[in-house]
């Protein structure tokens, strides 16, 4: 269905080609997972399938890409629209119309599909994706999972043979991600659509994939059955790492398969206990009482109480729109707060000037780039020193500890997600706040970057800072958080040590916990440490 033969993609001014001499075949009806570290060329690979690379992005493509027998070199993306459907990372950014129904029809209008056929296909697609009740809703009012399903539907109506998805679940909470994945597997199994998915959170998709395309980062692509490729891949989901540790072969990719072979491991672990130290918190770094955030008629946060001690890492979890971000902003004092009290070292940050408030509470927002406006990393660091009233070089030194090797003259816009996050973190930490708040920091980070980031958070905690992070990433929470707070509808519904809260939860339990239940193991590292 998709055939790459000796494909090399070179962007102008690039040191090395994004893809070099890639030859592979994706058969019809396959669900194909594209994985690899950030910057390995995943987006380039996906773009090459429908001709966005090089027709839209520029650069030079040597070799040949055939999709359903059509050469992308001579056909721009618009001509391939009836063959390949592409769903981008942020569905909202790709919406052209206002309502669900119009959005579903858009591609067909461009392809000059007769009106009666359009009417029929829209109805079919609404049913296929289970979004019939949303048909008249404005797109902006939909939740993230609903938007993603509409975006998939909007390309499906053109009846493409191939569906390309870029990070379809990375912004979604675990439950919404399940909904989207269910739709994707249904397309593969019921309609025989060939699906190509890029995803950082491999643990979500690996078990459904027929083929794994692994991009190690040197421009090459390794293609094969997921279990085989993952056995040697540098980055792998927790289930694979556990499998490698236990020496399972073939590697199981689903929790079910892993549980079936995990019997011996479980009985070995029965006798051992989790190493790791329990954190004893003394004192309070952050005290939040009865905080209410109201937007018009909507109550985003309804009377939340939260206490965080120095050295504690607290994960804030919950659906999209459950009030996590609103709470963080209200605590920092820059966001609205309708009622309640926040106490950081005896003062309310909202009553302070921004310059002083950021020395008490640092917040890294969901889109870290919002904080960056200068044209080089050095300029940003210097500005941060001025803002924080600290000796020159403080921010730069912090950055070098967080992410070594970032060139000072680099433009912040050219950094990778992980580097940009590190830069913003350095800018915010320059003020040395005792409380650090992070909103969805692991979005777009690969496993390596996440591991480094986890180490950074642990270091911050060991310096006695209180860290609160809002996230959907259960695996990350399992590795780093001491305590988990679950929010729903603006209220706290669970608050307790990470183990107690997430092990029992069907949505929030990490893979290792699911495999080794009822024993309370959360991460591969814990298991490895206990076994040695």
């Amino acid at each position: 269905m998709i055939e790459f033969s000796h494909v090399t993609v070179t962007y102008p001014d690039a040191v090395r080609p994004a893809l070099s001499d890639v030859s592979l075949v994706v058969e019809e009806g396959e669900l194909c997972l594209v994985a690899g570290p950030t910057g390995a060329g995943k987006s380039t690979f996906l773009g090459a399938i429908n001709g966005l690379v090089p027709h839209f992005t520029g650069g030079r493509l040597a070799g040949r890409v055939l999709v359903d027998g059509v050469d992308t070199a001579s056909n721009p993306p618009r001509e391939l629209a009836s063959v390949v459907g592409v769903v981008g990372q942020d569905p909202l950014a790709g919406f052209v119309t206002d309502t669900v129904e119009e959005e579903l029809a858009y591609a067909m209008e461009q392809l000059a599909v007769p009106p009666d056929v359009m009417r029929k296909r829209v109805e079919e697609t609404l049913d296929l994706l289970g979004i019939a009740d949303l048909r008249h809703r404005p797109l902006r009012t939909l939740s993230g999972g609903q938007q993603q399903r509409v975006a998939i539907g909007s390309v499906l109506t053109a009846h493409p043979r191939v569906l390309v998805l870029d990070e379809p679940t990375s912004a979604l909470d675990p439950t919404a991600a399940e909904d989207v994945l269910a739709v994707i597997t249904r397309l593969v199994h019921d309609l025989g659509t060939t699906v190509v998915v890029a995803e950082h959170r491999m643990e979500r998709v690996a078990q459904y994939a027929d083929r794994l395309l692994y991009l190690p980062g040197d421009g090459s692509v390794r293609s094969g059955p997921p279990a085989e490729v993952l056995a040697t891949a540098e980055i792998a989901p927790p289930i694979v790492e556990l499998g490698r540790l236990a020496g399972w072969s073939p590697l199981p990719l689903s929790v079910r398969d892993a549980r079936r072979v995990a019997g011996p491991l479980r009985s070995r672990l029965q006798k051992l206990s989790v190493v790791g130290s329990t954190l004893s918190v003394t004192g309070q770094a952050l005290d939040v009482r009865e905080v209410v955030v109201r937007y018009g008629d909507v109550l985003a946060v309804r009377g939340v109480d939260l206490r965080v001690g120095p050295g504690e890492i607290v994960a804030l979890m919950g659906r999209n729109g459950s009030g996590k971000s609103s709470l963080l902003w209200a605590v920092q004092g820059s966001g609205p707060r309708s009622a309640g009290k926040v106490d950081v070292g005896g003062v309310d940050p909202a009553s302070l000037k921004p310059r002083v408030a950021r020395q008490r509470v640092g917040l890294v927002p969901q889109t870290p780039a919002d904080l960056l406006y200068l044209d080089s990393v050095d300029a940003e660091c210097a500005q941060a020193d001025v803002e924080s009233e600290v000796p020159a070089g403080t921010a730069r030194a912090l950055l070098d500890r967080l992410a070594p090797g970032i060139a000072g003259e680099a433009h912040p816009g050219d950094l990778s997600e992980g580097q940009r996050l590190a830069l913003v973190l350095a800018v915010q930490l320059a003020a040395a706040p005792p409380v650090v708040l992070l909103d969805e920091p692991t979005r777009g980070l690969d496993y390596h970057a996440k591991r480094r980031f986890a180490a950074i958070l642990r270091e911050l905690a060991s310096q006695g800072r209180a860290v609160v992070l809002a996230t959907h990433d259960v695996e990350f929470v399992a590795t780093v958080a001491h305590r988990v707070v679950v929010m729903a509808e603006g209220e706290i519904v669970a608050d307790g040590p990470t183990k107690e809260v997430i092990v029992a939860s069907p949505a929030f339990a990490p893979q290792v916990a699911k495999i080794l239940a009822p024993q309370p193991w959360l991460t591969v590292d814990e298991v490895a440490e206990a076994l040695t």
């Binding site: 993306p77 461009q110 000059a112 404005p138 640092g362 919002d370 904080l371 406006y373």
Partner: protein
């Protein structure tokens, strides 16, 4: 009568007809009546979509126009022998600007003249605002002929990105506080504009990529001679229309008016039809044109036409006299004819409520 969105073309025809009517009078009573008619219809038939809230903005612009007109009359006044209301110290100008004087005595005639003039323009602006508030701009673009497709796209992208731009300005301003940066004043501009523009560029590019990969811009092959002919027809036609509209509004010359307008329209239509063949696309559930649409257009055009007829009977009524100063009068014929314009407030179907509560 079920609720549905009226064809956007109908609202525009109605509003433009009212605007043309406004252009033919300086009688403040009649102009006020037109504003009232437009306001009533907007209040009754606008949806709760974001663009519908723009009407207030147009009213503000209208007020600004009136105020600036009056101010200019005070500024560049002169002695015209009218009733002087107040005298400001005159600012002498150098010799080359002889005949022009700044400030000085201001007469009632001058002020009223400025007010009438400004009000006429403001009324026309408010009429356009009414059309903007009532018609969904994206639905209107769907009805745009194929030849104007590219223009339509640019507007679509702008319409999609603009509200997001407002959002990202708010987001970035909020984020500025986190770095203790300024959120107001000139020095804050860089810190806000740079991330917002980067964000907007990014969004526009992603939107364009999404549109491209969904088949936007597919076209049939046309020979270059035909393409040149199309461009020529459209340009010549539109130029003709412009001249024609000027002629009609001017109302003094005979051949520049209706004949020129008709000829221009004809040529432009030929261009559009030819150009439309280039674009192959279909419309999903296009807005139907039913009797309410026709009624709305008839109400607008009817009001305008009747006003024109009444002008033949009693032109003095439309242009109240400034010298000698006289109270503008309102006679029943033009007033009643304008009231017809308010009919859509009752005959047009109610718009569907856009937000179905979650």
């Amino acid at each position: 009568m079920g609720s549905r969105a009226l064809h956007p073309g109908a609202w525009w025809a109605w509003a433009l007809a009212l605007a043309v009517a406004a252009s033919r009078t300086t009688n403040p009573l009649l102009l006020g009546l037109i504003i009232a008619v437009a306001g009533v219809v907007v209040a009754n038939r606008r949806s709760d979509a974001p663009w519908a809230l723009a009407f207030r903005l147009y009213v503000y612009v209208g007020a600004l126009i009136v105020a600036s007109r009056v101010l200019f009359r005070i500024l560049i006044g002169g002695e015209d022998g009218g009733h002087v209301l107040f005298t400001l110290p005159r600012i002498p100008l150098p010799a080359f600007a002889a005949g022009v004087s700044l400030l000085g005595p201001t007469s009632a005639e001058e002020l009223l003249g400025g007010f009438y003039d400004g009000l006429r323009l403001a009324t026309m602006v408010i009429c356009v605002g009414a059309a903007n508030a009532l018609a969904n701009p994206k639905r209107l673009l769907k009805a745009v002929p194929g030849a104007l497709y590219e223009v339509g796209t640019a507007v679509t992208v702008a319409l999609t990105v603009a509200p997001q731009l407002v959002e990202s300005v708010q987001r970035v301003r909020r984020a500025r506080r986190l770095r203790a940066g300024r959120t107001r004043g000139l020095r804050a501009v860089k810190g806000i504009v740079v991330p917002v523009l980067e964000d907007a560029m990014d969004r526009s590019l992603r939107l364009a990529a999404a549109m491209d990969s969904r088949g936007y811009g597919r076209r049939a092959y046309l020979s270059s001679a035909l393409r040149a002919l199309i461009a020529g027809c459209v340009l010549a036609g539109l130029a003709g229309v412009c001249v024609g509209v000027y002629g009609v509004l001017d109302g003094t010359s005979s051949w520049l008016g209706v004949p020129m307008l008709a000829a221009g329209l004809g040529v432009a239509v030929v261009g559009f039809v030819l150009g439309g063949r280039r674009v192959r696309r279909t419309a999903y559930r296009p807005d139907p044109w039913r009797w309410p649409e026709t009624l709305v257009v008839v109400a607008g055009v009817g009001a305008c036409a009747l006003l024109f007829v009444s002008a033949r009977v009693d032109p003095a009524n439309l242009y109240p006299s400034l010298s000698p100063l006289r109270w503008p009068s309102l006679s029943p014929m033009p007033a009643l004819s304008l009231l017809i314009g308010a009919v859509p407030a009752f005959v047009a179907p109610r718009p569907p409520s856009a937000e179905v509560v979650r």
